[in-house]
């Protein structure tokens, strides 16, 4: 451990400080602290879960969180229905609802495709995305309307549940 790359580097840096190197280490350490918080702190967990639902506002706040790695984070479910459903309903049990488990950014299931034509419907489609991590859950609902101008996604509602008290 004493001769590990990071300990050698930090030792050199403390004896011979360099601004740009220190800034880079500082930025990585900041991200490291946030990520440790994802494992330990419910508030940071919730913030990172909300990122997948575009909930941190304004955009700048979400944009800053985008630089924090979050691949294959949390359990993310995507539900698609032609009928509006209560946001806290148990959607897995409904045969008319399409369900997918998604690695991250579950709303991408409606647009990150080689062909978006399959998502053009003559009537509105209701989309529910749910992120769960330990005792926390966030569900957001959207209405997807297709027209000649493209596909408009309207945010409808958000439901947050936490059992960390």
């Amino acid at each position: 451990m004493e001769r590990s790359p990071i300990t050698k580097s930090i030792k050199f840096l403390s004896s011979c400080p360099q601004r740009s190197t220190s800034i880079f280490y500082g930025a990585l350490f900041l991200v490291f602290c946030v990520l440790i918080g994802v494992g330990l702190c419910p508030d940071i967990q919730k913030t990172m879960m909300r990122k997948f639902h575009f909930m941190p506002r304004p955009f700048v706040q979400w944009a800053m969180l985008q630089f924090v790695p979050s691949m294959y984070n949390f359990k993310n479910d995507f539900f698609e229905s032609l009928q509006p459903l209560p946001i806290d309903a148990r959607m897995e049990d409904r045969p008319e609802v399409q369900h997918f488990t998604v690695n991250h950014y579950p709303l991408r299931m409606v647009y990150f495709y080689y062909s978006r034509q399959t998502f053009v419907f003559p009537k509105p489609v209701y989309v529910y995305i749910r992120t769960t991590f330990r005792k926390q859950e966030i569900t957001t609902s959207y209405m997807m309307v297709s027209s000649s101008k493209g596909i408009q996604i309207y945010f409808l509602n958000a439901y947050e549940y936490s059992d960390n008290k």
Partner: protein, 263 residues
Amino acid sequence: MNILTTNKNNDRYFGVARVVVAFWLLGWFLKINFFSHYLFHEISAFPVVIDFFPSFFRSPISAQFFYIYPLFVLPLFFRPQLFYFRFASFVMTASSAVLLLHQDTHNDATFLTSFWVAVWLSWFVHRMTADDPMFDVHARSLSLCVVAVIFLGGFTGKLTPEYWNGEVFASIFLQQHYGLVGEWIRAHMSAEAIRFHFQWIAKMIILGEAFLVFAPFLPYRLVCVLGIPFMLGIALYTTWMIFSVLFCLIGLLIAGLFLQKDN
């Protein structure tokens, strides 16, 4: 235009930077078959509008421009001049940052790993002329820190029973319709058997990520010898397209092998 003439390590540092850029470009354009159609046709023909994103980050033109912008870094492979390397680091950082925030591409982790590797390259090409005896040590240490932070992001978000028992990994794997190995397994094994095996595969993936989280505290060669095969092995579970995310990290680790481990 600043041409390096004084630092005796110039050629070696240019070589290191070229390895990083080459792997970065390889990862960036690995899915060109998908992105050339998606960015240059689909997002214009069927634009999706999510009000959350500012117009610049919804615009098909900004996504298209910043996807091909990294092609402008190619001169550094033919002209060993510092200007081209500094310009390349700027182009790579800006392109990955914009696509990481763009409505139509923000979900692709390619742009996240590319961003952090581009930041490392920016630091590298700006410090390589400083005649700093500790430069190689810092460069290797920072590359391990970048790898560690990326995999820490994957690791902490999986510290939940659904990931540890393989449920999430198995569900995603069963829904996929791509990947040569995956297709073969899905065709020859029942869903129950796949779920059973994923109890162990998930643990191996999570422990592999945990190993890379400790990369800065481990010998550099050990991280390369175990970490690179681990990254390559992830493709067995998904598809070779995952290399768009991982090639830049693999390139960063390989480039570090050409740096000295001590001052």
